[in-house]
């Protein structure tokens, strides 16, 4: 028990360190959010401003852009730690690596997934998303972006040692995002159509539970592989 407590305080220190680092590089939080805003702004200019058309494509577009915004900066999740040697120290430390990874991913989600989620309803307003869709959008993006971050972190860990890692990471991870995208956007669509979204939300939360169990050890394994060459 005492050991577990120790592990938790140690990993908690990682969380507070990462949050402090993120706070000092505030632009890193702002960038994905601005990307989301610009991406959504482009859409009506490209396909037209008809409210009906925008309302139809809004659930899918809001989800796709949230996915891209999450992926955009994930590449940097382990890179700075890899370059300044902190990652080697994490691996040498007595804390289990998967716990450290979990807290790093949590810090990343708090600084990216959460702002993106909170931003989404406003963007929904810009795309004239029908009124029934807002709660669905907010509530499904919350576990959805967490899954996207957990799965994407595996790609970041596998490509941390590569020079052009960002694009490779995007290519190997995007196919794995498909289920989340399908379930998330259809939740919003079905809420708009008046059918409710309980089933989709339950599926996403179940997916998050699985990802929370499976992904941290996989990410820790990937870090060991990609850094010990």
């Amino acid at each position: 028990m005492a050991e577990l407590n120790e592990a938790n305080t140690g990993a908690g220190a990682i969380l507070s360190r990462d949050m402090r680092l993120i706070w000092r590089h505030r632009s890193d939080i702002v960038n994905p959010v601005i990307f989301y805003l610009i991406g959504i702004t482009m859409l009506p200019l490209a396909i037209g401003t008809s409210k009906q058309l925008l309302g139809t494509v809004a659930p899918g577009m809001l989800w796709i852009m949230a996915m891209l915004a999450t992926l955009l900066s994930l590449d940097a999740l382990f890179r700075t730690d890899f370059e300044d040697g902190s990652l080697a120290q994490f691996q040498l430390s007595s804390q289990p690596l998967y716990l450290i990874v979990l807290y790093k991913v949590l810090a990343y989600w708090l600084s990216t997934g959460l702002p993106l989620t909170l931003m989404a309803p406003m963007l929904g307003l810009m795309l004239s998303l029908p009124a029934d869709g807002y709660w669905a959008l907010l509530l499904t993006l919350l576990p959805g972006t967490a899954i996207l971050t957990l799965v994407g972190a595996l790609g970041a860990a596998l490509t941390v040692c590569l020079r052009s890692g960002g694009l490779v990471m995007t290519l190997i991870i995007m196919p794995l995002y498909l289920p989340v995208l399908i379930i998330g956007s259809s939740a919003v669509s079905s809420a708009v159509a008046g059918f409710g979204f309980d089933r989709e939300l339950a599926l996403l939360i179940a997916g998050l539970a699985i990802a929370l169990i499976v992904m941290p050890p996989a990410i820790a394994g990937a870090l060991k592989i990609s850094t010990n060459q």
């Binding site: 040692c161 794995l176 289920p179 990937a222 592989i225 990609s226 010990n228 060459q229």
Partner: protein, 259 residues
């Protein structure tokens, strides 16, 4: 107990596999050719014409077995990767690396023949059908593994990274399949329906089954040949490979010349 595991450890030795597989090839190659010829000639020339689709249905004898084996190939690749990761053996990684391009080609073949078939039957080359999308995603998964393996600076680390990605992909493949299926049933495209595959007549079923077995043989054959190639490339500095290149006639012969 010790004896029971001996074969397993021997299987991990590239040299043992290379020697043994040259003997397997002697009967696997004719068997594959015979099965493929029988299945395709029976299916393409002698099986009865479909009442609704005419002769165009015959592409099923090329299309459907490719789809089955392409999916099975992903699991072969992932299992090989897992064995390599767990027991830290060299050979399974070589098998994994060889399975990826073969599976990708089979997946591409499925997509191409599918769209050629779709044109006369569905009236379109590409339809957002659940199976279409799933095969396309499977192709992306294969390409991701090939890409990751090719870009890694160190081969050992690249092998392990690919194995890990393939394993995570394995967990995801059923989820992707299920979610695409679910998405498809939500959208319910009205006019297009796959003509009953389950109610296939025996005269068409038997050549189809032979084709499936033949495709499995083709996959195994290609896998063995690719793996042998990979073994030679990776073990090029070892003495036994050098001996092999100096005395081409002395070893079991035949099969080596094909590489």
């Amino acid at each position: 107990m010790l004896l029971a595991w001996q074969w397993f450890h021997r299987l991990g030795s590239p040299r043992w596999f290379y020697d043994k597989s040259s003997r397997w090839l002697i009967w696997l190659m004719p068997l594959t050719l015979a099965l493929l010829a029988t299945g395709l000639v029976w299916g393409l020339a002698f099986a009865p014409i479909d009442a609704k689709q005419g002769d165009s249905y015959r592409i099923i004898f090329i299309h459907m077995p490719a789809a089955v084996v392409a999916l099975a190939g992903y699991y072969v690749m992932a299992v090989a990767g897992a064995v390599g990761l767990i027991w830290r053996m060299k050979l399974p990684f070589m098998v994994m690396k060889s399975a990826a391009p073969i599976g990708a080609v089979l997946t591409a073949l499925t997509l191409i023949t599918g769209s050629l078939w779709g044109h006369p039957t569905w009236g379109t080359f590409w339809e957002w059908d659940a199976r279409n999308i799933f095969m396309l995603i499977l192709l992306f998964l294969y390409l991701g593994i090939i890409l990751l393996g090719s870009i890694y600076p160190s081969r050992d680390a690249g092998d392990k990274a690919c194995a890990l990605l393939a394993l995570v992909g394995t967990v995801n493949v059923p989820i992707i399949y299920k979610s695409v299926d679910w998405w498809y049933s939500l959208h319910q495209p009205a006019s297009i329906k796959f003509t009953g595959e389950s109610s296939i007549h025996a005269s068409m079923l038997y050549p189809l089954l032979i084709c499936v077995v033949a495709y499995y043989c083709v996959f195994s054959l290609a896998l063995i040949l690719y793996t042998r190639h990979e073994i030679l490339v990776r073990e090029a500095r070892t003495q036994w490979v050098k001996d092999l290149s100096q005395l081409p006639g002395k070893n079991q012969g035949g099969a080596h010349a094909k590489l």
